[in-house]
C-alpha cells in the first residue's frame, strides 16, 4: 500500500518536472507559429526577394514600399562593430582574470564586470545619446553623433560581460593536469596559454562570442536611441543606420493591427529570428568540433 502511494507520488513529480522541462519548448513553438502566421501574409503583397533586397523602406506611403535591405545591413554593421569591440575586451579581461589576477582581485573584478550586464539597456541608451554621441560628434567633426559606430561602441560594452563571463568559466574549466603536463615538457607560461589553455577552452570562448553577438543583434532600446535611424544602405561606420529591431520598436506601437505594415513588421521579426537561429546553430557546431578535436566529446 505504502509502496503504491510512493509510486503514484513519484509519477506525479515526474509528470510535473517533465512538463516544466517542455514548457520552454512550448513557448518557443508558440512564438515561432505566431511569427510565421503574422509575418507570412506580407509575402502575398510583396515578393520575398523584393522584401529582402528592396532598398527603400516607406511602409506608410501611397504606394508603400517594403524593402528591408537597409535594415538588415544596419543590424549587421552594428553587430559586426560590436563584436570587434566586445571580443578583445571580453576575452582579454577573461584572460587577465584567469591567468594574471590574484585571488582577491579576481573576487573583485568578476562580479564587477558581471554587474555591467545588470544595467538596463535604456540606461545604456541614455548614456549613449546624451554623452557619447555629442562627444563623438565633436571629436570626429561629424554632422551627427548618432551613428552605426556609436551603436557598436555601446553594444560592444553591453555584450562584454557576456563574453567575459562565459570565456572565464571556460578557461577555469581547463583541467589542471593540462597545464601541469605542458609545464612538465618545458613550455613557458605564454606557450601553455596559447597552445594548450586557449585551444582547450575555445569551444566555451566561441560560445561566449556567439551569445554576445546574439545579444547585440537582438538589442532594441539602445540601438533605437543611439543609431540615428536612417533607413539607408550604410557606406561608412560614421553615418546613421536603422537596425531591424529599432524599426519594429518605433513603428509597431502605431500601426493598425492586420494591415500590410503590421505584417511587414512581423516579417522583419521573422527574418531576425532566422538570423539569430543561424548564429546559435553555428555556435553549437563550433563548440562540438572543438570538443571532438580535444577528445572531450560526449
Amino acid at each position: 500500500m505504502k509502496a503504491k502511494a510512493r509510486r503514484i507520488k513519484e509519477g506525479i513529480y515526474k509528470g510535473i518536472f517533465t512538463f516544466l522541462a517542455f514548457a520552454s519548448l512550448l513557448f518557443l513553438v508558440g512564438i515561432t507559429i505566431t511569427l510565421f502566421l503574422e509575418g507570412l501574409p506580407i509575402f502575398k503583397e510583396v515578393k520575398f526577394l523584393n522584401f529582402i533586397f528592396g532598398k527603400y523602406w516607406y511602409p506608410t506611403y501611397e504606394p508603400p514600399e517594403f524593402g528591408i535591405l537597409p535594415l538588415i545591413l544596419g543590424s549587421l554593421w552594428v553587430t559586426v562593430g560590436a563584436v570587434l569591440i566586445c571580443v578583445p575586451l571580453g576575452v582579454g579581461s577573461a584572460l587577465f582574470i584567469n591567468e594574471l589576477a590574484g585571488r582577491r582581485l579576481k573576487a573583485f573584478l568578476k562580479p564587477l564586470i558581471e554587474l555591467l550586464a545588470g544595467i538596463p539597456s535604456i540606461v545604456y541608451g541614455l548614456f549613449g545619446m546624451v554623452i557619447v554621441a555629442p562627444f563623438l560628434q565633436k571629436l570626429l567633426n561629424l554632422p551627427v553623433g548618432l551613428t552605426a559606430f556609436t551603436g557598436s561602441l555601446i553594444l560592444g560594452i553591453m555584450a562584454t560581460p557576456t563574453v567575459c563571463s562565459i570565456s572565464e568559466d571556460a578557461l577555469s574549466f581547463v583541467p589542471r593536469s593540462f597545464r601541469e603536463a605542458s609545464f612538465a615538457v618545458g613550455a613557458n607560461r605564454w606557450q601553455t596559454l596559447t597552445r594548450v589553455v586557449i585551444p582547450a577552452s575555445a569551444s566555451g570562448i566561441s560560445t561566449g562570442i556567439m551569445l554576445g553577438m546574439s545579444r547585440a543583434v537582438g538589442e532594441t532600446m539602445t540601438v533605437l536611441m543611439v543609431c540615428g535611424g536612417a533607413a539607408v544602405i550604410p557606406r561608412t561606420f560614421f553615418q546613421p543606420v536603422r537596425p531591424m529591431t529599432a524599426t519594429i520598436a518605433a513603428e509597431m506601437g502605431e500601426t493598425v493591427m492586420g494591415s500590410t505594415h503590421y505584417h511587414s513588421l512581423f516579417a522583419i521579426g521573422l527574418i531576425l529570428f532566422l538570423i539569430t537561429l543561424g548564429f546559435n546553430i553555428v555556435a553549437e557546431l563550433i563548440s562540438r568540433r572543438y570538443r571532438l578535436k580535444l577528445g572531450l566529446g560526449r
Partner: protein, 270 residues
C-alpha cells in the same frame, strides 16, 4: 421587523444602484498626440463625476479610427482627419463616423540654437526634407550639411507634417528617425546642423524655432490661421455624440476643458 426589512432592502437598493452607476464607462483609444488632452480631461472629468470611469489608451490615430469603426471604443482620438479609405471601410460596416474638433496643434520647425537661420519658407522646408537642398548655405546659413531629423512614419506628427509641409512626398531616406517629440528635441539640441519638427507644446529654449513663411509658430498664429504648419485634433465618435460621450466632449470644449488643453501644451480653440 418590517422596518428592519425595508431598511435592509433600501440599503441593498442604494448599494445596487451605486454598483450600477459605477459601471458607466467611456473607453478612449487612439493618437498619442491627443493622449495628453484625453488624459488630463478624463482625470478632471472623473473628479467631477466619480461614478463615471474613463479608460484612456494610446495606439495611434489609425488605431483610434479603426476602433471606432470596429466598435471597440467609444471615442477614437486622431491627430489627422479621417482618410477616404477609412470612410469607405466605415460605410461597408454601416458605421457613421462623426468628427469632433477638440483642440489645435501647431508643428514647429526647430534647429540648433547656434544656427544663424531664422526663417524658412514652406517650399524650402519641403526641399530640405525631400533631399533637394542638403546644405545650410543654400538657405542662408553656414557651411554645415543639413542633418534632417524626422519621426517614425507611423506617428501622427509625421503624418501631419508630411501632409502639411511635404505634400505627401517621400522624406529623404537618410533622414534620422526618432520615436517621440522629446527625442527629436534632444537630437536637434545636441546636433549643430540638425533640423527637426515637433509639436508646439514641446518647444523649449534648448532648440530654436523658425518662422515659416515669415510667421512665428505661436498659439495665436495657429488659431488665427496664419501659421501654415497647423492642424486640428479630433475625437471621433460613432454618430453624433450622445449620452456620456456628449457629456465628456462638451466638457473638453467648455472653458475648463480648453484650459486643460492649453496646459497640456496644445492650442485651445477659443
Amino acid at each position: 421587523m418590517l422596518l428592519a426589512l425595508t431598511a435592509a432592502l433600501s440599503f441593498g437598493l442604494v448599494i445596487g444602484s451605486k454598483a450600477l452607476a459605477a459601471k458607466k464607462t467611456i473607453t478612449i483609444k487612439g493618437s498619442t498626440t491627443v493622449l495628453p488632452i484625453a488624459q488630463a480631461c478624463a482625470e478632471a472629468f472623473m473628479n467631477r463625476y466619480p461614478e463615471i470611469d474613463i479608460s484612456v489608451q494610446g495606439g495611434g490615430s489609425g488605431v483610434g479610427i479603426a476602433s471606432i469603426i470596429d466598435g471597440t471604443c467609444d471615442i477614437g482620438d486622431s491627430s489627422r482627419p479621417i482618410k477616404d479609405k477609412e470612410i469607405t471601410k466605415a460605410q461597408e460596416k454601416g458605421v457613421e463616423v462623426y468628427e469632433n474638433v477638440v483642440a489645435m496643434d501647431g508643428i514647429a520647425v526647430v534647429v540648433h540654437p547656434s544656427n544663424p537661420v531664422n526663417e524658412l519658407t514652406r517650399e524650402q522646408i519641403k526641399a530640405i526634407y525631400t533631399g533637394k537642398i542638403s546644405a545650410w548655405s543654400e538657405v542662408g546659413g553656414g557651411k554645415e550639411k543639413i542633418v534632417v531629423v524626422s519621426r517614425d512614419s507611423a506617428s501622427g506628427t509625421f503624418e501631419a507634417f508630411n501632409h502639411l509641409a511635404l505634400d505627401k512626398e517621400r522624406v529623404r531616406p537618410d533622414s534620422l528617425l526618432n520615436a517621440s517629440n522629446n527625442a527629436v528635441a534632444m537630437t536637434v539640441a545636441s546636433t549643430p546642423g540638425a533640423v527637426g519638427y515637433i509639436g508646439l507644446g514641446y518647444l523649449s529654449p534648448r532648440v530654436k524655432s523658425l518662422k515659416v513663411n515669415s510667421v512665428e509658430p505661436t498659439k495665436e498664429n495657429v488659431v488665427n490661421g496664419s501659421y501654415v504648419l497647423a492642424r486640428k485634433l479630433f475625437m471621433y465618435t460613432k454618430g453624433e455624440p450622445e449620452g456620456l460621450n456628449k457629456q465628456f466632449i462638451d466638457f473638453i470644449l467648455s472653458s475648463d476643458g480648453q484650459k486643460l488643453v492649453d496646459k497640456a501644451g496644445f492650442v485651445a480653440l477659443k
